[in-house]
């Protein structure tokens, strides 16, 4: 099982992150200083690392504005092993002053992005049966209490009826 994260390259505007920051301010929360958004995809099935890299580079990443990171995940454990960066310095990823909110569809909820993704993987010539999930990752900068993160996650970023959040 591989997780692919699509990051905005340095020097390009992270418009979705800025829009979320504006919405957070609209909730009256003032201690979030910056938000960066990235897309997440999980690809599961009989698929090799090389094929996953093709999916990441040729399909999921806009070569002009984005980079990708591929992580190998086991089914149950959320701990990650960073396997591959495309032109991303590891130092760029590690900043003690941010918190992360991930938003995923709950099991059983139709994930239409993943359905498009499975179709697009076949278009790439990878004719294997795979499962896919699409999610969202928000990096929130600033000294933010856990309760505030929970508020942002559940009031703003996720529809808790159909989506679940991971806050860390």
């Amino acid at each position: 099982m591989f997780e692919i994260e699509i990051l905005t390259k340095k020097g390009f505007k992270n418009s979705r992150g800025e829009h979320v920051l504006s919405d957070i301010c609209g909730l009256g929360i003032e201690n979030v200083t910056k938000v960066e958004y990235s897309s997440l995809y999980i690809i599961d099935g009989d698929i090799s690392f090389a094929e996953t890299e093709t999916i990441a580079s040729d399909l999921l990443t806009d070569k002009i504005t984005e980079n990708y990171v591929i992580r190998q995940r086991d089914a149950e454990c959320l701990s990650e092993v960073i396997s591959k960066f495309s032109d991303v310095k590891e130092a760029d990823m590690i900043n003690p002053n941010f918190s992360v909110i991930e938003v995923w569809y709950k099991d059983g909820v139709t994930d239409i992005v993943s359905e498009s993704l499975i179709k697009a993987v076949k278009d790439l010539g990878i004719a294997k049966e795979i499962k896919a999930k699409a999610g969202h990752k928000y990096y929130l900068y600033g000294e933010i209490f856990r309760v505030t993160l929970d508020t942002i996650a559940t009031k703003l970023l996720a529809n808790v009826l159909i989506q679940e959040c991971k806050v860390y």
Partner: protein, 262 residues
């Protein structure tokens, strides 16, 4: 007189195909809307048409990124034919989502290279923007543009936009120098008098306020605004147009039909 045949390529999520068909028919063309699966089964069918159109919409729900899945699909399944068609000099237009497809496929700005070197990214405003904008037609500045689609347009026209990912950017400064040098910039967002626009007349943050470009030869044209939504004066908010009947979008389609008929 030869009837000009137009192919409008559609797939899941295409939603401007009927309006585009209507615009071309108004200009005297015969139009067929063809699903990509049909074209993939019979690839050489593409050469039966005089004009190729990638219409607006939200192909595959804009999943992953606008136009990305369709551009990959075309490149992987029809890449050879589409490139050959483009290099033959026949007119090709990509409107909104179609422009995103052309750019991400790499057919614009250079079909010979056929590689993505620019992109249409998220609007600076961070949201979907839907309004009428003014466009400065760059053919009137410096050397005449070679774009066959935009002859006979006034200095400034008005067209509607509706997109969330219309910010035209590239990694390289040379890229924009080349576009300028080769007169490939066709439309820039402008104010009513052709000057610097303010929000919401320019909402996406496009580099150099670019709204539409063509290839060097001028037969391939991509733009974010929707000319098919302004073929009659009646469609304009102030009912403006020319000959008190038509909208400026019609001129764009008429130019291509006339060119193909020569």
């Amino acid at each position: 007189m030869k009837k000009i045949k137009v192919l409008i390529l559609r797939t899941a999520g295409t939603n401007c195909d009927y309006e585009t068909q209507s615009a071309f028919e108004l200009c005297g063309a015969v139009v067929e809307r063809v699903h990509i699966n049909t074209l993939v089964e019979e690839k050489d069918k593409i050469f039966e048409y005089d004009i190729l159109t990638f219409p607006g919409g939200f192909t595959y729900g804009d999943d992953v990124a606008s136009g990305k899945i369709l551009s990959n699909e075309i490149k992987n399944k029809l890449g050879y034919e589409v490139k050959k068609y483009a290099l033959s000099g026949r007119p090709i237009i990509g409107i909104c989502n179609g422009f995103q497809v052309l750019v991400k496929m790499g057919l614009l700005p250079d079909p010979e290279l056929f590689k993505q070197i620019s992109t249409l990214s998220y609007n600076d405003s961070g949201r979907f923007e839907c309004c009428w904008v003014y466009l400065k037609t760059e053919k009137k500045i410096g050397s005449e543009s070679s774009c066959i689609w935009t002859k006979n347009l006034p200095d400034v026209i008005s067209l509607p936009v509706a997109h969330g990912e219309g910010k035209f950017i590239s990694e390289s400064k040379d890229f924009f120098e080349d576009l300028n040098k080769n007169n490939q910039i066709v439309f820039r967002y402008s104010s009513k008098d052709g000057g610097e626009p303010e929000y919401p007349l320019v909402s996406n943050g496009s580099t150099e306020r670019i709204a539409g470009i063509c290839n060097k030869k001028g037969n391939i044209f991509g733009l974010m605004p929707h000319p098919e939504r302004y073929v009659f004066a009646l469609q304009h908010p102030a009912k403006e147009g020319f000959n008190s009947k038509y909208g400026w979008g019609k001129v764009i389609f008429q130019n291509a039909v006339d060119f193909a008929g020569q």
